[in-house]
């Protein structure tokens, strides 16, 4: 289904409830009645094309909004990505951590194994935090500054220096290490968990890990499909302006 601005948001959510955290990040709260996407965007001061692009990209993995890429600023996208980072670090990861830390009270598994899992998850968490910090401290500000330079025509030296040091193309590869760790953690629990009388607590953890993985995959697909091409276009433009 292609999500369009004339549709009622309630219908869209009934069709794909995985979009709930997405609309939440845009500041749309439940109880929106029969309002259309267009109406809600105007009420909440949201760029409609941008909102539709994000909804469609989450909803349909084949969606690729080539034509719309230029119709909203990169800074909007950066803001959105920052909000989803917040969601991982402030909500999702602590939820899973809580489940893992409470395992000793919930299962008869020996403490050695549980400590191993706990340490492994906290290692993963640290890596995720580092990756997110790096994006927020280095990559995102670079993008915002670059966009300013493109629109004003004034290019500070710092932007050129950064363009030479670090191109957006390098950035996609960095996602993978963090993903591998999460995959390993799931596989260890699925395939190699020692026998236990009651593995329900582990089901819960697995379910959350799959959900987190899913959400992170969507997040990086948005970065790869929308952010990276946008930034690559700006990099080309700035290089031609310099000449």
């Amino acid at each position: 289904m292609l999500i369009q601005k004339e549709m009622k948001l309630a219908d869209v959510i009934h069709h794909d409830h995985f979009l709930i955290p997405v609309i939440n990040r845009f500041g749309i709260h439940l109880g929106f009645g029969d309002k259309t996407i267009d109406e809600l965007c105007r009420e909440n001061d949201i760029n409609t094309i941008f909102f539709l692009t994000i909804l469609n990209a989450y909803h349909d993995h084949e969606y690729f909004p080539k034509k719309h890429l230029q119709s909203f600023p990169a800074s909007l996208l950066v803001n959105y990505l920052l909000k989803s980072h917040q969601y991982y670090l402030d909500e999702k990861v602590p939820e899973i951590e809580k489940l893992i830390v409470s395992l000793p009270d919930e299962t008869d598994m020996d403490n050695g194994t549980l400590t191993l899992l706990e340490n492994f998850f906290s290692e993963y968490k640290q890596e995720l935090i580092n990756h997110i910090r790096r994006e927020e401290d280095l990559v995102y500000p670079y993008i915002v500054e670059m966009e300013k330079a493109v629109s004003s025509g004034v290019i500070p030296d710092s932007v050129f220096k950064q363009m030479a040091d670090y191109s957006i193309t390098d950035y996609e590869a960095e996602h993978e290490n963090v993903e591998e760790k999460l995959f390993d953690l799931k596989n260890i629990i699925i395939k190699y968990l020692p026998e236990t009388k009651d593995d329900r607590p582990f089901f819960k953890i697995l379910k959350e890990l799959f959900a987190l993985e899913n959400d992170l995959n969507d997040h990086s697909r948005i970065e790869d499909l929308i952010l990276v091409p946008k930034v690559e276009a700006m990099e080309r433009k700035l290089k031609s302006m310099k000449r």
């Binding site: 084949e62 050695g112 194994t113 191993l116 899992l117 492994f120 290692e123 193309t169 996609e172 590869a173 993978e176 290490n177 591998e180 760790k181 995959f183 390993d184 953690l185 596989n187 260890i188 395939k191 190699y192 020692p194 690559e232």
Partner: protein, 199 residues
């Protein structure tokens, strides 16, 4: 259900991607894990990161010399390359591929080709289905998680670096665990290494 062969599809036209996806979804042993349009930056790395068993590509997305270097790189990775060809594809171009899916063929002819690919890969997967580690692999895993480098392991066991690397690759493939910390947890849980030996 057993192992599903992973297919990566490189084709610029959405209609063809969607059609091929649909046909492949009818075969339980295979699934399309990723599709590309062909103009992506660092396409090869992106393809390989999906660890596909089969790569189906439309040769038209490349210039001739690009195509050959692309094919050579992928052939080194021990996967099956399939050409997505049409009426206009030259014979010379088709000869680069072990299998061809021709866009003019009927659904069942296409399915026959896919089944053939599926069967040819199954024998390979039966061999790697055995997931328990050999004694040698356990010894190597023990040293890996104790922090020894490949060179150190090779020297102490009188093996070549290449052999140690092959063992390491096999261990990761068998267990489905890639990261060092993941391997460490596995080794500790299965008493392949003692708690006091690591850190």
């Amino acid at each position: 259900m057993g192992y599903r062969q992973k297919i990566v599809l490189v084709e610029p036209a959405y209609l063809i991607r969607a059609g091929l996806r649909k046909i492949i979804s009818e075969l339980p042993g295979m699934s399309v894990v990723e599709t590309f349009e062909g103009n992506e930056i660092r396409l090869i790395d992106k393809i390989l990161s999906k660890t596909p068993d089969v790569v189906i590509i439309n040769p038209d997305v490349f210039k001739k010399n690009e195509l050959i270097s692309f094919i050579n790189k992928l052939n080194n990775e021990n996967l099956v390359l399939v050409g997505l060809t049409g009426r206009h594809t030259s014979f010379g171009c088709k000869s680069h591929f072990r299998y061809c899916l021709d866009s003019g063929e009927s659904k069942y002819d296409l399915l026959e080709v896919l089944k053939k690919i599926n069967r040819s890969l199954q024998t390979k997967n039966i061999e790697s289905e055995n997931t328990s580690l050999t004694q040698r692999e356990k010894i190597i895993l023990n040293r890996v998680v104790r922090g020894q480098t490949t060179q150190e392991i090779a020297d102490s066991l009188f093996l070549s670096v290449h052999t140690v690397n092959t063992h390491r690759k096999n261990i990761s493939n068998k267990l489905g665990i890639k990261t060092l910390s993941g391997l460490t947890v596995y080794a500790l849980m299965n008493k392949i290494v003692g708690m006091d030996e690591v850190e």
